[in-house]
Amino acid sequence: MLLSVSNVTKRYGDLVALHPFSMELECQIYGLIGNNGAGKSTLMKMIVGLIPPGKGKIVLGDLNAKESPEEVKQYIGYLPESPLLYPRLTPEEFLRYVAEIRGIAAPEEEIEQWLNLFSLSEKRNAFLNDLSYGMKKKIAISAAFIGKPPLLVLDEPFNGLDVATMEALSEMIVKYHKDGATIILSSHLMAYIDRLCQQVVILKKGKVVAQGSPDDLKKETNQDTFHDTFLYYSRDSE
C-alpha cells in the first residue's frame, strides 16, 4: 500500500512543529530520527489520522488522511510512545478487544503467538496495571501488529524493552516487511535504525537535515557508524 506525504506542515501558533515535508514509500522500513522535539511524533500522528496536517496532503492507498481519518486507521497499526492500555483488563482480553475491533474473526492463534513471542503466556490472566513497563510495552507492540495492517507506525518501539525482546521485535519487523508491510519507525537506538531501515530521514526542529539510506549517509559524512553519522548531522545543523 503506497503512502504519499506531500508538502505537509504543522504549526502550533508561532511554533513550527514540522516544515514542509514530503515522502513516498511502499513496502519499506523507513526510519524517522531526530532529537527530542524534532517533530517525529507530530508527523507520525498526522500519518495515523490523529491530528490533521496544517497544509499538504497525506494519502494512504486512495484514502486522504485528512478527509477520512477514521477509515485510514483500518490499514494502520500504531504504537504510541507511551502504551495506552486499560489497567483492569488482562493482556489476553486487551488483545482480543483490539482484534475484535479490527474485525478479526478468530484472533486466538495470533494472540497466542504474540504472548509466546514476548514470554507473556504466564501473565495472561494478570491485570495490565500489575505488569512492568516493559511488559506493558510488549502488549502495546502486539496490539499494533495484530491483524497484520499494511502500514505500521512505531514510535520508539525499543524503549523499555530488554535486549532479547529488542532482538525478537527487530526480527518481527523484518518478517512483516518481507510479507509486504510498510514500516515507519523512530528510535534513538541508531544501531537498530542502521540495521533495519532502508531509508532514513533526520529531523531537527521540524526540518529535514538529511535523507537517504544509512549506508549513503555514512559515506557522505565519512563516519564508521550510523550513531556517529547522526551525531554529525545533529552538530552540523546547530
Binding site: 504549526r11 511554533l15 491530528i51 486507521k73 495506552l84 489497567p87 483488563l89 475491533i101
Partner: protein, 444 residues
C-alpha cells in the same frame, strides 16, 4: 462494534466495583444515609430548637432556579476537563483513538462514558432533593441525566470551534446566564432547556464530533501549550514560597509543592470551589436567621475540600514520595496544613462582611471573630485530617468530612466555642489511622 467496546468498558467498571464493593455498596450508601438523615434532623429539629440555626426550607421555584444554576455551573466547570477528554491530546489519547472505529460508535462510547461520570452528580442531586423534601421533583434529575452528556459534548465542541478553549469569555456568558436565572420566570425554564437540548445534542454529534473534533485538534493543543506557559509565568510559585514560611519546616517542601500544583491547575476543582465560596460569601448579605457561622463553616469546608482531589490525583506519583525520606506522619501533616492554609482567610472575610452589614459592639465583634476563626480551623483541620479516611475517593471523603464538620459547627457555634478543644483528640485519632493507611499503601 459498540457492543465490543461496551462489553470491555462494563468489564472494567465491574472489576473496579468488585474490588471496592464494600466502599461503593456498604460504606458509601451508609455514610450518605447517615449524613442525610442526621443532617436533616440537626438542621430541622435539634439546632432549630437550640435557637441559633434556623430551619432550612426551600420552595419549588427556588429549587428549580438552584438546579438550573447548578447545571449551568457544571457545564462551565466541566468545560476544560471535557475538552481535554474530547480532543485526543497527548494526555488523553486512548486506544480507541488508534483503532478503526467509526465516529458514530466513538460518539456513543463517549456519551456512555459521560453518563457514567455524571451519575454521582445526579445521584447527589436526588439526595439533596430528598433532604429538602422535594420528592415531586425526583424524576427530573434522572430525565436530565439521560440528555446531559449530549448537551455538554455539543456545547464544548461548538464553543471551542467558534471561540476558544479559554474560559474567560465563557465566564462572561455564564455570568449572564446566572443573572437570567434570577430574572427569568421559572415557567420559561423548561422552554429554554428544550431549546438547548435540541440545539446542542444534534449539533454536537453531526458537526462537532464528526468534523470539528478532528479539525480543531491542533488549535486546541496549541491553546493548552499557551495556557500552560501563561500559568507558569504568573509567578505564583515565588508568592507561595513566601507564604509557606508560616508552615513548620519539616513539611514545608510538601506544602509548597501542593500549593504550586494547585496554582498551576493540577486540581481543576480549585476554581469551582473558589466560585462556590464566593457564592456562599454573597449569600451572607441575605442570610435570614441562619447564623453567619454556618455560612462560614460551609465556605471553609468547600475550600478545604480541595485537598481530597489533590490527594487522589497525586496517588500515581506517591511512589516518588515513598522513595524520599518522608514519613507517613509528614505526608498527613502536610495535607492537614494545606487544607488549613487555603481556607485560612475565609473566617476573616465573613467577619468583615458581617460587621459591615450588621455593625455590633466591639466585645461582640471580637467574640464573633474568635468563634469564626476557631470554627474555620476546626472545619479545615477535620477536612484535611480525614484525608486518608475516604479510601482516596474524594466523594467518600467529602461525606465523612462533611459529617464531622456538621458536628464541629454544632458544638462550637450552638454549644460553646470551648468545644474546639475536642478537635485535638479527634485529630490525634485521625493521624493514627492515616499513618497506618499510608504505611500500608507504601508496602502494597
Amino acid at each position: 462494534m459498540f457492543k465490543i467496546i461496551l462489553k470491555s468498558k462494563l468489564r472494567i467498571i465491574g472489576r473496579n466495583l468488585t474490588q471496592d464493593w464494600a466502599t461503593y455498596f456498604i460504606l458509601g450508601p451508609v455514610m450518605m444515609g447517615v449524613a442525610s438523615l442526621l443532617g436533616r434532623r440537626i438542621f430541622n429539629d435539634f439546632a432549630f430548637g437550640v435557637g441559633r440555626i434556623q430551619a432550612v426550607s426551600i420552595s419549588e421555584p427556588l429549587a428549580v432556579r438552584l438546579a438550573f444554576a447548578t447545571l449551568a455551573l457544571k457545564v462551565f466547570f466541566n468545560f476544560l476537563p471535557m475538552a481535554k477528554r474530547l480532543y485526543p491530546t497527548e494526555r488523553s489519547l486512548a486506544i480507541e483513538d488508534l483503532l478503526p472505529i467509526s465516529v458514530h460508535v466513538r460518539y456513543k462510547v463517549f456519551y456512555f462514558d459521560q453518563l457514567f461520570r455524571d451519575l454521582p452528580f445526579f445521584v447527589a442531586g436526588m439526595v439533596i432533593l430528598l433532604f429538602f423534601g422535594q420528592t415531586q421533583l425526583l424524576v427530573w434529575p434522572l430525565f436530565i441525566w439521560a440528555f446531559f452528556p449530549g448537551i455538554e459534548i455539543g456545547f464544548t465542541l461548538t464553543w471551542v470551534h467558534f471561540w476558544s478553549a479559554n474560559r474567560k469569555q465563557l465566564a462572561g456568558v455564564f455570568g449572564a446566564v446566572m443573572i437570567l436565572l434570577v430574572v427569568l420566570p421559572v415557567a420559561q425554564f423548561s422552554w429554554w432547556a428544550d431549546f438547548f437540548t435540541i440545539l446542542f445534542v444534534p449539533l454536537g454529534y453531526y458537526q462537532g464530533f464528526k468534523v470539528w473534533r478532528y479539525r480543531d485538534m491542533g488549535r486546541f493543543e496549541q491553546f493548552l501549550m499557551v495556557h500552560q506557559d501563561r500559568n507558569n509565568k504568573i509567578g505564583a510559585a515565588s508568592v507561595l514560597a513566601q507564604l509557606s514560611h508560616i508552615i513548620p519546616k519539616n513539611i514545608r517542601p510538601l506544602v509548597l509543592r501542593d500549593l504550586i500544583l494547585t496554582a498551576r491547575n493540577f486540581v481543576p476543582q480549585i476554581w469551582r470551589n473558589v466560585l462556590l465560596v464566593g457564592l456562599v460569601v454573597l449569600s451572607v448579605v441575605n442570610r435570614g436567621n441562619i447564623d453567619v457561622a454556618a455560612y462560614c463553616a460551609l465556605a471553609v469546608f468547600m475550600m478545604a475540600s480541595t485537598v481530597a482531589p489533590l490527594f487522589s490525583l497525586q496517588r500515581p506519583y506517591r511512589a516518588m514520595d515513598n522513595a524520599l525520606p518522608i514519613s507517613a506522619e509528614q505526608v498527613w501533616c502536610a495535607k492537614l496544613n494545606y487544607a488549613r492554609l487555603i481556607s485560612f482567610p475565609i473566617p476573616f472575610i465573613f467577619w468583615g462582611i458581617e460587621l459591615f452589614l450588621r455593625p455590633r459592639p466591639i466585645s461582640e465583634a471580637l467574640v464573633l471573630l474568635l468563634t469564626l476563626v476557631l470554627l474555620g480551623i476546626a472545619v479545615s483541620s477535620l477536612v484535611g485530617g480525614s484525608i486518608c479516611e475516604g479510601d482516596q475517593r474524594p466523594v467518600l471523603q467529602y461525606i465523612i468530612a462533611a459529617f464531622m464538620s456538621v458536628l464541629a459547627t454544632l458544638f462550637i457555634v450552638v454549644f460553646n466555642p470551648a468545644m474546639f478543644l475536642l478537635l485535638f483528640p479527634v485529630l490525634s485519632s485521625l493521624k493514627g489511622s492515616a499513618i497506618t493507611r499510608l504505611e500500608n499503601e507504601g508496602v502494597s
